[in-house]
Structures are given as C-alpha cells and as structure tokens.
C-alpha cells in the first residue's frame, strides 16, 4: 500500500495544503512548528478518524480537539492511496456532528464506501478494516510518533506498549504480567483487611475500635439505665415522703379545727340518720322472722287447698246430678204404679194366684192353709223367746218393772204358741175344706169386681199388662239401686277430701297464726318489711362503725388514715437525706459512666457506615481477586512465548545501528534489556543514554514494522534527534533498505538526513513543508 496524495482542506494550521508522495523513501522536511506532526496525525485521522476504540458510544479522542482548525467551520481533507493496483480516494469530514468518510475508486470515481467494513458506533466504514489494522495496531507498529524528549522512561514505556500491541495484533499473547501488576496496584489502593495503611485497612481498624467502643458504651449505658431506674424509684419515694410531710404541714391548728368541725358535722348527721332508722324499725322486730322461703311454703299449701276445694266442688256437682236422676226414676215408678189401681203387685199376684188356684184342686189350697197357720204360730214362739231373752240380758235401757212385764209377756207368748201349734191343725181340717169350696166362687167374683173386669179373659188381659208394668218397675228399681251405689261412692270420696281439706286448712291457719297474720297477702307485706329491716340494720351498723371511727378521731387525735398525727409528724429527714445522697451518688456514677464512653447509637451509626464501606471495599477486592485468578489461569493455559525471533531481529538491527549492542531481550514485565558486549550482561534500557534509548526504540519499531506482514507505509517523525552522526547514518541506511520493500515517510527537522541519504547514494523524494 502506498499513499500518493494528501490534501488537508482544513486541518490544524493547514488550509488547502496538498502533499504528493512517492513510493519508496519520502523525506518531509520542515522547521519547528512547520506542521510535521500535524501531517502525520492527518494521515492517521484520514484512515481512522479521531475516535476512541471499543466504545459503545462514539467518543472523540484528544487529537480531535488538538487539530481542530481555528475557524472551526471546516475540518476535512482527502487522501489518495494505492493498494493492490487500485487507487482509492478517502474524503473525510472530521467536524463533530457532520463527521463522515466517503471512499471512492479514484480511477472511476465510483463510490465504493459500502465495500468496506462498517463500525456501528462511529457509523463509518473502515478503510483498513479488512486488513485487520486497527488504530491501536497502526500507532504501535508503523506509525512512530515523536518521542517526548523530557521523558526517557516514556520511550521505555512506549516500547513496551508497542511490543504488547504487536503481540496482540499477531494474536500471540497479551501482557498478563502488566495487567496483573495493574490489578495488584488497584487492589492496594482498595487495600486489604490486614494492611493498615490502605483505605479498607484503616476502615477495618476503625471498625474494630468502634466495636470495642460500642460494647463499652452499651455496657455503660445499660448500667446508666439501671441506675436511672433506681434513681426514679428513690425519687418516687422522696416525693411520697415529701407529700406526707406536706400533709403534715397542712395539719395546722386551723386545718385540725376544720377537720374536727367536719367530723362533728358528720357525726351529727350519722347520729340523726341512725335515730331515724331506729325509730322506723322500732316495732319491726317480728318482721325479721318473715322470710320468702316460708312464703313459698305457704303459697304451696294455699295452692293445695285450692286444688282440694276444686275436687270437692266437682264431686258435689256429680252427687246433685245423681239425686236428680233418682228422683226422675221414682216419679216414673209412681206413674207406672198408678196402673195397679191402688193395689200392690203382691196383691195382684196373689189374687191372680188365687184365681188360678180356684181353677186347680182344692187340696193344694188346704195344705197351704194349714201351712199358713203354722207360720203364724212359729212366729209367735220366736218373738216370745226373743222378747224374754232381751229382757233377761237387760240390753235395752228400760225400767226394771217394764223389763219384768215384758219378760212375762214373752214367756206367755212362747207357751201359747207351742200349745196352739199342737192342737189347732188337728181339730179344724175337715170343717175348713167344705167351707172353702163354697167360698171359691164368691172369691172369684170379688176378684173380678176388685179389678173392674167382667170375665176371666178380661182379667187375664189385665194381669198380663200388670205383669209387664211390674217388670218395668223392677228394671227401674235396679237402675235406682245402681245410682244409689254411685251416690254412696261419691259420698265416701267427698268425705275423704273434706277431711284432707279440713286438715290442710287447719295447718295453713296454724302457720299463719305463728306469724300472727290472717292471710298470705299480709305475710307478703311482712316479708317486704323484713327485708327493709335487714337493710336498715346494715346501714345502721355501718353508720355505727363510721361513728366509732369518727369518735376516735375526735377523742384520740387520729386522722382518717388511721395513724396518729404524732406518729406521722415525726419527720423522715434521715431517710430523705439518705435517698438524696444515694441519688447524687448514682447521678455522679452515671455522668462518669457516660463521660468515658461514646453514645452507643452514635457508635453504631458510625459502625454501620464503616461496615458498608468495608463491604464495598471487600466487593472491590473480590472483583480484583476474581480477575487476577482468571488472568493467572488464562496465562497458564496460553503459550507464553517470549518471541525469541523478534528479539534476534531487533538485536541485529540494534547492532547495525550502534555497532555496539547486539543482543536484546524483552523480559516478562515487558522491560527491554540490552546485552552489554563488555561482559555480556543485560542492561536495563533506563541505564542507557537517551540517544542509545532512542536507537533501541528505533530498532524495536523497525523490527516490528518489518515483521508486520501487511504492506503498510512506515511513518516516522523525527526519530533521530538524539542520534550521533554515525548511528543516524546507520539508521538511515536501514530505512533506505526498508523503503525498497514498503513506502517510508520520514519527517525531519534539519537537512542532515537529506545530506546523509545523498552521501549514501540512496533514492528518496524530498518534500518541503
């Protein structure tokens, strides 16, 4: 790749400045401030713009501001380069907000921007993107910027970075040790618990102190709290004593008098009330016996009496009904019996029997007749014996004379009876038979007359009717008897109830009599009065007790509380004094306790803040440790080659330039060391002169660029300022040699380089700025 033409429309100090470059070695000369560094920056800017790499948002690098033209209206340029036989033109606008890059085929004028890799953050295409050349690689390999004169170690640092970038670009290695070193440093600034000088170390130390302070504070304040509790209790006690004393002060004569007066008033009032009560209950002693339990008993009895009366009333009613029914039956009997025409059924039956008898054999009539006489006689005998027996026993309350007469009459009746019974039947049998036969017809006729009938048939009809009536009468008689039985049962029941009723009524009356009352209503009144009586008595007793207390107050000089004034009057000065002393002691102790320690709440606040801070630090340390651990692991896994080939090459270049140093070594900390031919020891680059250091740098960059397998121009800005003539010649020789393989652009200040190159007979192209 070769740069052919650069045009700075507006860039840094340049306005419309065009520089044409040739293949091979280009020597761009200019005095100080001529714009050499600007031109070099322009080439870099044309390829990459001035943006910071790997950013998520487009961020301008510091070069942007540095090369901003004064006018600030235009900030642009173009660059034409040739690659693989194709001429490409870059047109870039650097101005913020308008920044853009257009890529054209310079031969056809075709816009070929889209052919190149695109960066989404800066929103531009990358001309060298396809070659894998990033800004970092470019700056650390082919683009050698002016070295800072004042900082020798700066060059060492730059070598180190170039080396790293080269290695990264090759994908071989990265500077593990450098990153480790930086992380360790970072960790040191955070610090560890054990390192007292660090931020976190100090915090941990402070925390430990605070923990002790907190413990001491909490203990002290706990003690303070306990003391305060005791003080509060003492103060309460003191207040109590003081109020008692205050009470005593109030117990002046006036107060005492007032109290006595009040007491008298109370006494009078109470006595008056008691008298009233006594008057009210004067005749009420009896009522105290009245009680509601007895009342309940009385009420129960009264209920029983009522129940019995109800039952008796019921039975009486039943009995009345029965009497009525019996009367009805009697009346019916009477009317039925009217049909008998004043005869009894026995007469009618006997007459009918006679009637029938007349029809039958008269023999029967005879036997019957003598049988009748016999009965009369036997009755006479029995009666006589009975009369005599009774009189002999004297059972009846009669005179002795009457008794004797009756006894004689009895015996006479007995004797007459016995004699008649032996003689009458035997003498009269024959005569009576003939007489009776004669009278039969008369008899029959008289029967017909008696019953108002003419014929035997009519008599038969009459008799049948009478017989039916008789049957009905007999039934009525049975019914009547049944009713009588019922009546007698009710009667018996009624009598039992009556007895019970009488007994209970008597008991009820007796019990009421015990309380000298006549009715239960009066007893109820008594009960109420009894209760009132009890209440009044309680009141009376209470009043009595109050009175006794008041009498005592008045008489013995006591106060209502019960203690005598004289007891209370004894001042508890000693106790108050002791309490006061104890409170003062405790308060003293408290202030000492609190003086020595910090307030726990404040200590714990400080602790919390510190702990949070320590936690943050620990998190940061953890972050460092995690990164370090991974780094070490990655380091072990990757092949850590120290690029001996490169070392050899750089060593050879250094040898050519210096004719003195030959061997170069870059150690694992990316420190460049050179082999001192005098003794063969390695020497740190810092130990070399500034000029030698620049040469090492040159050798290093030259070696790297030469080793870079991409065809990129090698650009150097005043690399030989501190070289002696001989070494400068050697270096230029090398550059001339390199320019045969790739384009070299060398910015110089003086004319030395041109002269040397001419003297060496090298081809080169000179441009004056």
């Amino acid at each position: 790749m070769k740069i052919k033409k650069i045009t700075m429309n507006a860039f840094g100090k340049f306005q419309n400045k065009t520089i044409n470059l040739e293949p091979g070695l280009n020597l761009i000369q200019g005095n100080n401030e001529a714009g050499k560094t600007t031109t070099q920056a322009f080439i870099q800017g044309m390829y990459f713009g001035f943006y910071k790499p790997y950013r998520k948002k487009k961020t301008y690098g510091m070069e942007y501001e540095k090369y901003m033209p004064w006018e600030q209206l235009d900030y642009s340029g173009s660059l034409i380069y040739e690659v693989d036989g194709r001429e490409i033109r870059l047109e870039r606008n650097f101005l913020r907000g308008k920044d853009s890059l257009m890529i054209y085929d310079n031969t056809t004028g075709e816009d070929i921007t889209q052919e190149f890799k695109y960066d989404g953050v800066i929103r531009q295409h990358l001309p060298l993107g396809d070659l894998g050349i990033t800004q970092g690689i470019y700056n650390n390999t082919v683009n050698i910027r002016q070295l800072p004169f004042e900082l020798e170690s700066g060059s060492q640092e730059e070598i180190r970075q170039c080396y790293l970038e080269r290695k990264n670009a090759d994908g071989n290695d990265m500077n593990f040790n450098g990153i480790i070193r930086r992380l360790e440093e970072k960790k040191k600034t955070i610090g560890r618990s054990g390192q007292s000088k660090s931020k976190v170390g100090a915090a941990v130390r402070k925390r430990d102190e605070l923990l002790v302070a907190l413990r001491d504070g909490e203990e002290a304040y706990a003690k303070v709290a306990r003391n305060q509790k005791t003080i509060a209790a003492y103060q309460k006690r003191m207040k109590q004593i003081e109020s008692e004393n205050e009470f005593l002060v109030k117990e002046s004569v006036v107060n005492r008098k007032r109290e006595l007066l009040q007491t008298y008033e109370k006494i009078t009032q109470l006595e008056k009330e008691n008298n009233q009560i006594k008057e009210a209950v004067k005749d009420w002693d009896d009522y105290s016996r009245f009680n509601f339990k007895t009342l309940e008993g009385l009420k129960a009895i009264e209920n029983q009496i009522d129940r019995l009366s109800d039952q008796m009333n019921y039975i009486e009613k039943e009995m009345d009904d029965l009497v009525h029914q019996i009367k009805n039956i009697r009346r019916k009997e009477e009317s039925k019996r009217g049909c008998f025409n004043g005869n009894t059924w026995e007469t009618i039956a006997k007459d009918y029997e006679n009637f029938l008898e007349f029809k039958r054999v008269p023999e029967a009539m005879k036997e019957k007749s003598s049988f009748g006489i016999s009965i009369v006689l036997i009755s006479l005998i029995i009666f006589g014996i009975g009369l005599a027996g009774t009189m002999m026993n004297g059972t009846l309350p009669l005179d002795e004379t009457v008794e004797s007469i009756l006894l004689t009459l009895g015996i006479a009746m007995t004797l007459v009876g016995v004699v008649s019974a032996i003689y009458v039947p035997a003498t009269n049998n024959k005569k009576r038979r003939s007489q009776e036969l004669e009278t039969i017809n008369d008899e029959q006729h008289s029967i017909f007359v008696k019953y108002g009938v003419a014929t035997a048939e009519e008599y038969e009809t009459y008799y049948k009717k009478a017989f039916r009536i008789q049957k009905e009468l007999e039934q009525m008689k049975n019914e009547g008897e049944l009713l009588l039985i019922q009546q007698s049962r009710h009667q018996a029941g009624f009598e039992v109830l009556f007895e019970q009723h009488r007994g209970i009524t008597r008991e009820f009356a007796n019990r009421l009599a015990e309380y000298k009352v006549k009715s239960i209503e009066v007893y109820v009144e008594g009960c109420k009065k009894g209760q009132q009586f009890d209440e009044l008595m309680v009141r009376l007793n209470t009043n009595q007790r109050l009175l006794e207390g008041l009498y005592e107050t008045v008489n013995a000089g006591k106060i209502v509380g019960g203690n005598t004034l004289w007891e209370q009057a004894t001042p508890k000065a000693e106790e108050i004094l002791n309490l006061g002393k104890e409170i003062a002691r405790l308060e003293g102790e408290n202030s000492t306790l609190m003086e020595g320690v910090s307030l726990p709440i404040e200590t714990s606040e400080a602790l919390k803040t510190l702990t949070a801070q320590i936690d943050t630090c620990n998190l940061e340390i953890k972050g460092c440790d995690a990164a370090l651990e991974i780094l070490e692991r990655t380091q072990k896994e990757s092949h850590h080659e120290s690029a001996p080939e490169l070392n050899l090459k750089i060593g050879a270049i250094l040898g050519e330039v210096t004719h003195h140093y030959q061997g170069v070594k870059i150690d694992d900390r990316m420190k460049v060391k050179v082999v001192d031919p005098d003794g063969g020891n390695f020497r740190e680059a810092e130990q070399l002169s500034a000029g030698t250091m620049d040469q090492v740098h040159f050798a290093f960059r030259y070696g790297i660029s030469d080793a870079l397998d991409r065809d990129i121009p090698f650009i150097l800005d005043e690399p030989f300022a501190r070289y002696d003539a001989e070494r400068k010649t050697q270096a230029l020789k090398l550059l001339a040699e390199l320019s045969r393989r790739r384009q070299v652009i060398l910015f110089t200040c003086g004319m030395d380089e041109e002269k040397t190159l001419k003297s060496l007979g090298q081809d080169f192209h000179t441009i004056e700025l």
């Binding site: 910071k52 790499p53 790997y54 950013r55 998520k56 948002k57 961020t59 301008y60 953050v121 990033t134 800004q135 970092g136 700056n139 650390n140 970075q161 790293l164 970038e165 990264n168 994908g171 071989n172 290695d173 990265m174 500077n175 593990f176 450098g178 990153i179 930086r182 992380l183 970072k186 600034t189 304040y221 709290a225 305060q228 509060a232 309460k236 726990p600 709440i601 404040e602 714990s604 606040e605 400080a606 919390k608 803040t609 510190l610 949070a612 801070q613 998190l619 940061e620 953890k622 972050g623 460092c624 995690a626 990164a627 991974i630 780094l631 692991r633 990655t634 380091q635 896994e637 990757s638």
Partner: protein
C-alpha cells in the same frame, strides 16, 4: 366542644440513622432535627391553643431510647397549657418489657392507651371520645375485630379512632381494613405507621412522619391539623384536614446521566450544578449516576471531591457502565488470550463481583494500552 386538633405520630425520637458518608454528626444532627420538629409541634399547639393532640404511634423509635429523652417528651407535654394529649404506641415503641413509656411520669393532660384491644377515653370538656388501641408486642397479623365490633359510639359526641397499622397490608404490621373502620361511623380515623402523609376521601388519614427519615421519604411532611364544624341542619360534624409543614432538611435524589465524552471535571460540574448552593448546603443528596463513562475515568474518589459542595452527599455508580463494547472486544479477540480472559470474566457467578472484575480488568487493559 372540639374545634380543632393535631394528628401526628411516627416521630421516631432517638432513631439511629445510617449515612454512607463518614462522620458521626449526620445521625446526631438528624436526631436533633427530630427534636426540633417535636418542639415545633408543641409550640404550635401552645400558640394556637389547640385543645387536642393525637399521637398515632411510634413517638419513640425503640425501647432503647434514653430515659432523659422520654422525660423530655413528658415535660414538653406537661408544658401544654390548654391541650390534652392522647397517645397510642406503635411497632417501634410498644408496651413490652422495658417500655419507653415506663421511663417517665406522665403529666395529667396525657392519656396513654395501654391495651391491644380497643378502648375509649371520653374528654367531657371537648365532648370528644377517642377510641384507640396500643401495641403491646412487636407483631400483629390480625386486627382485633371483636373488640372493635363491640365499640359503641354516641352520636352526640365527636368520635375519633386512633390506630397504628397498615391499610390493606397483609403482613405483621396490623392489617387494617379501611372499609371496616369507616363503616363504624367515626368522625375521624387518625392513623399512623405509613411515613407518607395521606388523607383519604373518607374520614381516614395517615399523618406521616413529621420530617422525612430517609431517601425514600420525599414530598411534604409535617403534622395534620383538623378543623371541625357542626352542621346543625344535618346534625353532623364536618372535619377538614391539611398538612402543616415542619421546616426540616429534605432528602434529594438526583440522577446524573454521564456520557463517554465527559471528563471527570465535567462530571463533577454536572453534580455540583444539580441544585443551588443554598439547597446543597441544606439537604441530603444522593447522586445516582447512569449512562456510560469513559473507561479511563475512575470515580473512586468522587465522594471526597464532592464533599465540600454539599452538606451531605453520597453517590451510587452501580447503574453506570464503562463505555466499552465488550461484545466487539470479544469478537475481535475471540482467538487470543484477551478474548479468553474476557470470556472467563463473563462467567463469574456473583453479578456484583463480575461487574467489578470486568471494570477493573478493562481499566488495567486500557492502562496497558490494549484498548487505546
């Protein structure tokens, strides 16, 4: 008759504070400011002759409050000439062993509810009955519904409910069902526990913390003043409430969006310009950085650099990302050790450690010239 009253609570007197910025005096000062707010309330009540102050719990922050502080409160209440004070306890100052309320003798104008069931106190001179419940333990999963339901309100009195709990909550902070509370017909429902003051369209109100206690407590703070009018026509009380602010330091959170083009000094300037000098020297500031920062800039010491510009400042960089496209870096280095290293960093388990490891590694790689 009650004409006006103060509803406050959640003072958290004696509260410890945690500040990220070093220095004991922030907590100490804030505690002093709590006292100033308390005394402001007392002075207001005295000057305006407010007849009643309601304390809806958490007057003290814990049982560890100093005896002298409790006595100080008792004394302040005692100094009120025409004001009755009714107190319930909350989850911070509950009546347990070592209750802060046992540390002082309370003046006669102070009534403290002692039980964890609803009781009432009737102030005859104000024709006002206050129904309240105190905490006696540090957790309540259930509302004491039975005792609440048993409450009987007299229509002729002004009835106030005083409770400390969480409306609609389901945890251990005494869940309150606002509809149930309102259904009883109280003239005012004075609540405590939630630190943001709020007045519901109904009759309930949270007084909030009188001054903000942390960065989460923004907005206006103070105490509620309620005024009562009697609507004779409808025979009811009409209560109107509003916040009376208490002057105090407030907590300010500012988000500062950082861009990768910004330098360290520009970032500092942005933070300092977030508010006026007076405000910065008055309030507590938390600076929340977001966006992308140039990976070459480290904010390790930014707190120290901001210290003078603020009374108090703390910064949070957890949401700030270094402006490095890790994916691109990985893509371009996938075959080399840089890629392997970055890939391994991505696999660190703990996200916080991972983020730190990544930032420090990038810092180190930038330092080593890898990402220039």
């Amino acid at each position: 008759m009650l004409t006006t009253f103060i509803h406050t609570g959640d003072f958290h007197l004696g509260r410890p504070f945690t500040f990220k910025q070093q220095g004991n005096y922030y907590g100490k000062n804030r505690r002093k400011e709590l006292w100033t707010a308390f005394e402001f309330t007392i002075e207001f009540a005295n000057a305006k002759r407010i007849p009643l102050i309601l304390i809806a719990g958490d007057l003290f922050d814990s049982a560890n409050v100093l005896t002298m502080d409790v006595k100080r409160v008792a004394e302040a209440f005692g100094s009120l000439k025409q004001t009755q004070v009714v107190i319930i306890t909350g989850n911070h100052d509950y009546h347990g062993d070592n209750s802060p309320y046992e540390k002082a003798i309370w003046p006669k104008n102070v009534y403290i509810f002692k039980e964890d069931v609803f009781r009432s106190v009737y102030i005859e001179s104000l024709n006002t009955e206050i129904f309240g419940m105190s905490w006696v333990k540090n957790q309540y999963r259930e509302f004491p519904e039975r005792s609440f339901n048993a409450l009987k309100l007299e229509d002729t009195r002004y009835n106030i409910l005083l409770a400390h709990g969480e409306v609609g909550g389901q945890g251990t902070y005494l869940p309150l069902d606002l509809r149930l509370l309102e259904s009883k017909g109280f003239d005012t429902i004075a609540l405590g526990h939630i630190h943001k003051p709020g007045i519901s369209p109904g009759k309930a109100a949270y007084c909030g913390s009188p001054v903000p206690l942390n960065f989460g407590e923004t907005g206006e703070h103070g105490f509620l003043v309620s005024r009562i009018k009697v609507d004779t026509e409808n025979q009811q009380f009409i209560t109107t409430s509003g916040i009376n602010p208490i002057p105090s330091r407030s907590y300010q959170t500012r988000e500062i969006v950082v861009g990768p083009e910004q330098s360290y000094n520009e970032i500092i300037d942005m933070v300092v310009n977030c508010d006026s000098y007076e405000k910065r020297q008055q309030d507590f500031y938390r600076i929340q950085f977001t966006g992308f920062i140039d990976p070459e800039i480290q904010l390790d010491w930014i707190d120290e650099d901001l210290e003078e510009a603020f009374y108090y400042v703390e910064t949070d960089t957890s949401r700030l990302e270094p402006d490095i496209d890790i994916e691109q870096l990985l893509e371009e280095n996938k075959d080399n050790p840089v890629g392997q290293f970055l890939e391994a960093l991505k696999n660190i388990q703990d996200p916080e450690v991972r983020k730190k490891a990544m930032i420090y590694s990038i810092e180190a790689m930038v330092g080593e010239g890898l990402l220039r």
